[in-house]
């Protein structure tokens, strides 16, 4: 394999002109040649669906793959709260620059200026496109679009469709995709899981997939491959991600030479329904939008905590003066709307100090009594009706009467495949978009920015930048799937599957996955330290051995087999888990979602170390030894790097 040298390919020129200049400079492929080019897109979330639809509209031949029975079911469908854009429709002094700045600052100065500026720039086009597709965004009585606020921002720039923004945006992208499928430019392969990437002469040329209905192993070739498979939050077993969300495609690409960037930047969302028992399969998010009106608190007195746990009093009976609105107390300027990492750590701090309000001691209140009194129940119902209903269905508590209980949970992964400004990984012809790449959120993602990034990548960035690469490939014929590289990759996949069946051990996949989740949450979760991380690495190594000698996978391959699907994914989660821990160990600073206990101020705030860690950590896979760390230095030309301050 060629020596990896990171080149971010950031265009020269003033920040605000980089994207325009770059677009003017990159090559385009003529319509006649586009028809001859084939592109594989793996994943049908906002990233994949928007990219495939747009590439199809441009005239490329696209093949798109997903795990579920329909592209519409991708995990993006579950996003609730909203999508940001710098429209400044509210005339509250928002701008492309302000959205850019908030995102850079929210990311704790660990993202690339040029990428983030571009993101803010195209954000406005996204809203236009979605409205034209028929996305029913919330509107004011005058007929114009409505906005709300999200954490980490002091302006109102979030567009939303009730509590189902992700669903509506995905239905828009899926509709555009359907139009292209009908037109014949896109072919959709559902219930297919990518199991390996195929390289020919060092370039990405195809994938090996398992047909999940029949168990058959299939080969697909193309001129370029786009990974849009989402984040790897399920490494932790319990998370807000959908059950089938996984990090396998990332690991497959990593093992073929794509660097994995900033794996330790994992976002823990402050407002999730607390864990209720050992049998739980996933955690449910309560949208961040609730923090627009809801107030977060714990009791001031430990005796009230005691009574709450024994169910002797109801939370609503605790008088105002005995409540600690700890976010408003610690961060007066942003109050309940501090960024997620800050809010999560503050909740942990209160619970560690013994103020957790449920029987596990791991919960705080999110209270709507005050806004209901101020605005009326109807207004609250209009804003959050379906979220309140969801909460009640799960917990049997009516949040109109008693406050919700919430606790932080794994939610999003800022890390992912390393990509350059064109969204290309370190493998030529292999692109990564959406949550699968690392590009725009630095150490922490702001609310309503993932949807924006996925759609920016898919609708506006990749369809332009991929042309630059493909224009050099117009003479290359269709990839032949009988090439020995496909043969070899397919055989490896088959051997791996056979190996899993042969183990016939004593533990089920879920049992082993829960063990990994416990290690990750305990030592690589909200607070990390050197000793714990070293221990985690050792434990994960041991668990990996245990997995490969003791897992029990029933059935056989040539069949619909969900246990096998899970086993293949867990094998990769084990590798990601270790990578997260290694990266967290390397990054001896507290930054964004990554909090090293050794690095905090006396008040318990995060302490960044710009002198030593102002870089993207890109990990290169090496067989039978620890991965190699490459550092991409981050240069801030426009923004003045400062300590994040949400206090005043």
């Amino acid at each position: 394999m060629a020596e990896i040298k990171l080149d971010s390919k950031i265009p020269s020129g003033p920040l605000a002109e980089k994207w325009t200049r770059h677009k003017a400079a990159i090559k385009v492929v003529s319509p006649a040649n586009k028809r001859k080019m084939e592109i594989i897109v793996v994943g049908t979330g906002l990233g994949g669906a928007s990219a495939a639809a747009t590439l199809g509209e441009l005239g490329y031949n696209v093949k798109i793959f997903c795990i579920s029975d329909s592209p519409r079911r991708a995990h993006s469908i579950a996003a609730q709260g909203g999508i940001n854009a710098a429209k400044n429709y509210q005339n509250d002094n928002d701008s492309v620059y302000r959205l850019f700045y908030d995102t850079i600052k929210g990311g704790d100065f660990r993202a690339r200026e040029a990428n983030v500026y571009r993101l803010a720039e195209v954000s406005n086009l996204i809203i236009d496109k979605c409205v034209a597709q028929g996305v029913p965004f919330a509107r004011e009585y005058g007929g114009l679009l409505a906005n709300r606020s999200f954490g980490g921002a002091q302006v109102s720039r979030t567009f939303y469709a009730r509590g189902q923004t992700g669903q509506q945006l995905l239905l828009g992208a899926y509709a555009s995709l359907n139009r292209q499928i009908a037109a014949g430019t896109v072919k959709s392969y559902n219930r297919r899981e990518m199991l390996d990437l195929v390289l020919i002469d060092g370039k990405a040329r195809g994938i090996i997939v398992r047909n999940l209905e029949t168990g058959e192993i299939e080969r697909y070739g193309a001129h370029a491959v786009v990974i849009a498979t989402g984040g790897y939050g399920n490494t932790y077993f319990l998370s807000t991600n959908a059950m089938n969300s996984n990090g396998s495609a990332l690991i497959q690409c990593y093992k073929k030479g794509a660097c994995f960037a900033n794996p330790c930047f994992v976002q823990i969302h402050p407002t999730c329904i607390p864990v209720h028992g050992k049998q739980q399969s996933k955690l449910t998010l309560m949208s961040e939008s609730l923090r627009n009106d809801g107030k977060i608190w714990t009791p001031k007195k430990l005796e009230d905590v005691e009574k709450l746990r024994k169910k002797q009093i109801k939370p609503s009976q605790i008088p105002e003066e005995d409540r600690d609105y700890y976010l408003e107390r610690r961060y007066p300027a942003f109050g309940n709307l501090v960024p997620r990492d800050v809010a999560s750590r503050a909740a942990k701090e209160r619970c560690d100090a013994g103020y957790g309000v449920n029987d596990t001691g791991l919960a705080v209140f999110l209270d709507f009594a005050e806004p209901i009194k101020r605005l009326g129940r109807k207004a609250i119902e209009e804003r959050y009706g379906n979220l309140f209903q969801m909460y009640e269905k799960i917990t049997d508590v009516n949040p109109y009467e008693e406050p919700m209980q919430i606790y932080p949970a794994i939610h999003y992964t800022m890390g992912g495949l390393w990509v350059d400004y064109n969204l290309m990984t370190t493998i030529p012809g292999l692109y990564a978009i959406g949550e699968a790449n690392f590009s725009d959120h630095g150490g922490n993602r702001l609310g309503a920015s993932a949807l924006m990034q996925g759609l920016a990548d898919g609708y506006y960035v990749l369809p332009n930048t991929i042309g630059d690469y493909l224009s050099a490939d117009i003479q290359t014929p269709k990839t032949d799937v009988n090439h020995p590289a496909f043969e070899e990759a397919e055989n490896r996949v088959k051997a791996r599957i056979e190996k899993l069946f042969k183990i016939k051990g004593k533990q089920t996949v879920d049992e082993l996955h829960k063990k990994l989740g416990n290690i990750m949450w305990e030592y690589v979760g909200m607070a990390r330290n050197e000793k714990g991380l070293k221990k985690a690495i050792k434990l994960i190594d041991e668990l990996t051995k245990e997995f490969w000698t003791d897992v029990l996978v029933p059935g056989k391959n040539g069949d619909f087999n969900q246990e096998l699907e899970k086993a293949l994914r867990l094998a990769d989660f084990l590798e990601i888990g270790k990578l997260i821990a290694l990266d967290a160990l390397d990054r001896r600073e507290s930054c964004g979602g990554h909090f090293r206990e050794e690095m905090q101020t006396e008040e318990g705030e995060a302490k960044r170390d710009d002198a030593n860690y102002m870089y993207v950590a890109a990990w290169e896979y090496r067989e039978n030894q620890d991965p190699k760390l490459h550092k991409e230095p981050l240069n801030y030309e426009v923004v003045k790097v400062s300590t994040r301050n949400y206090k005043n």
Binding site: S70, R72, A78, N178, Q279
Partner: protein
Amino acid sequence: MKFTLKVWRQKNAKSKGRFETYKIDNISPDTSFLEMLDILNNNLVHEGKEPVAFDHDCREGICGMCSLYINGRAHGPDDEITTCQLHMRKFKDGDTITIEPWRSAAFPVVKDLVVNRRAFDQILQAGGFISISGIVPDANAIPIRKEDADESMDASACIGCGACVATCKNGSAMLFVAARVSALERLPQGKIEAAKRAKSMVQKMDELGFGACSNTQACEAECPKGISIAHIARLNRLFIQAKLQD
């Protein structure tokens, strides 16, 4: 809690299925229905038996992946929720629970409780979109009445689960089709192709083996998202309009 489960087992689309009975114990009332099935499957794997195949993903009632006919009702005994949002506290200790897949000619069984709903994608490919691409006007260029946007959103809440089809004695997909047609028709940008869209989607639905609507309203009663049959009336109007234009 303790339950007796009668679960439909079927190897694949071609084979004949049958019910198998399983006992399950130690289930907390706070456990969700699908978590209960996870526990069953974990037990089955340990016993060397094949786990029950069932579809699911988000487990939040939004992806439309889960299905299941539970005690004769699509998505089980609770109203306006999906199977993944159902909790065991809705059952009585000691209950016998019957679990079946969606049964409809247009949704063939893949295995056990998993069915193939590709026909829904095909209906939408026949016209469930607004034909735009490239750069479009500013989002606020066309003001839209809040009431219309809200109605569009009501219809657009459909998750494509297929409960309406499974519940309908005719196996009709009218509620699903009407929801999409209505969601787009309520908006000015969707009105332009509304009649044509209605016609091609209904034609596709017929072609794919879904039954005709005889207005039994069972679909509305079982729809987890409360999609109203009023949308079917709108679809019918648009369909007739398209026919007249032919």
